[in-house]
Symmetry: C2
Subunit: 138 residues, 2 copies
DNA sequence: TTGAATGCAAACGGTTTGCAGTTTC
DNA sequence: GAAACTGCAAACCGTTTGCATTCAA
């Protein structure tokens, strides 16, 4: 069908207590509408939104990504320094970063076995562990 | 003694085939002069250089960090997104990132055991594996 | 002497913000 | 109606760059 599905995205927002505005629903659909995980940047998401009938301003894309991120709906991944990347999958899992193309994909979590991890120093706890496997074309 | 030691830094530069200009030697000394590893940002290094008699312009700090990094003398660590961090220790090892203070320290490498790592996808090889343990105050 | 390195200031690029107008509840 | 959200444009801030000057070899 041609009509835009908005159910999943709306529920996703509701689960985080975020108001389902037109813009947020549109972005949420682009992010989780088909149930797949995605890696995006503000720029790529803005471009995707612009391709649709409902556009969303770049500033709102930034504000929304920040809001989603603070609500725990998405996670920011630090790989590039010049750009922010976000992942719709929020559990700890390793990433491949394709240095030549500057894009990010999930690495199979089952294939990563961490037998032991350094202890958190006194007075601190581990908030998250980022594992980024940087790839280069051979 | 009060005189500024410049031997180690000068040799360090020579080893990478970089000209030992006054500025580079000063920065190299600040980085490896005492044989200890350091985690720095352009800003912190510039501040440290300014505290000395020999100042170095901020642009030169940036250019120099880039040159050192390309020469393999230091390594850039991606943790913050808003700032670039560099490490004078260049082997693969895990880091603690103290989210509250925004600073970086080495995590004990012996305590990290990776039993298995995802395979590099066809046509690629692993350039490096970044492990960042993000800490939060309890 | 000559190519490389430096420093200043201006440019850059991704991100944030102030504020007026709009929308959700 | 009140509070939250949006969009525009301007501000921001770490970083890079153009170019004239200085320096190492």
């Amino acid at each position: 069908m041609l009509s835009i599905e908005t159910k999943r995205g709306t529920e996703w927002l509701a689960g985080a207590g975020l108001r389902p505005t037109r813009q947020r629903v549109a972005l949420a659909e682009l992010l989780v509408g088909d149930g797949q995980h995605r890696h995006i940047t503000a720029e790529s998401l803005h471009a995707a939104a612009t391709d649709q009938t409902d556009g969303v301003s770049l500033a709102t894309v930034y504000n929304t990504l920040k809001a989603f991120s603070e609500a725990g709906l998405i996670r920011e991944i630090m790989v590039d320094g010049t750009k922010s990347y976000f992942d719709t999958r929020v559990d700890d899992h390793p990433h491949f970063f394709w240095e030549d193309e500057g894009h990010l994909t999930d690495a199979p979590k089952e294939q990563l076995e961490i037998a032991s991890l350094p202890d958190a120093p006194a007075g601190t706890e581990i908030a998250k562990v980022d594992v980024v496997i940087r790839l280069r074309r051979t």
